[in-house]
């Protein structure tokens, strides 16, 4: 069992070191077209000064709908757990 743990750990460490060596240099991400589109157009299309807000509520509004539905489901679960008969 101890050898098995060691094998798994070395496989993980190998992939980790491999990924570290493959890292791109800091400040040069691979794909930037979407970032540039949002930074340049969010003030024009969404009229929003806060670009993060424009992404969360306008470009990716569906994601926010999912988040608030998850919160609603969590509250419903707590309500069911703590209900009084």
């Amino acid at each position: 069992m101890k050898q098995l743990k060691l094998v798994f750990f070395s496989i993980f460490a190998f992939f980790f070191v491999f990924a570290m060596l493959m890292l791109r240099p800091f400040g040069s991400p691979q794909r930037t077209s979407m970032d540039h589109y949002i930074i340049e157009n969010s003030q024009k299309e969404a009229a929003c000064n806060n670009v993060v807000s424009a992404v969360v509520f306008d470009y990716r509004g569906f994601d926010t709908l999912g988040e608030s539905t998850v919160l609603f489901a969590a509250v419903s679960g707590v309500f069911l757990l703590f209900r009084r008969k």
Partner: protein, 153 residues
Amino acid sequence: MHAENEKNSKIIEFAALGLMVPIITFGIYVIAHGHLTPGGGFQGGAIMATAFALLFVSLGKKAIESIKGEVLVALECIALIGFIGIAFLGMGNTFFFNFLANSGVLFGEKVPFGPNSGIFSSAGVIPLMNFFVGLEVCCGLTLIFFLIFKGAD
């Protein structure tokens, strides 16, 4: 926990009630300026929920009895329905279309490109959605605290 033996000091009760005012004001500020500064509905709602958590911790049974759970449930449902309703109002183009932006009516001013110009009446439906999401998060988290504190005694 024995509710009969509990006796909170006046200092804690008074300090908690005094602290609730700036906490809720800060939460409303974060929600209202969600389209200008960092923050928004989720963050502001969580800040406002901490004020109610402070109220429950410091006042105990008195606070639990003074708040009705049905009101919180109704407000949360209204907020979620309002959020989805605003999303449906943009159905002329797409779901979640920002139909108020650049329209000149409500929150409809144009913003210039560049650094944050700080125009409050901008961003279309984003402030309204921030308001509804903030109300939902505040009521939801307060309801969780309320139910757990109520079930604990």
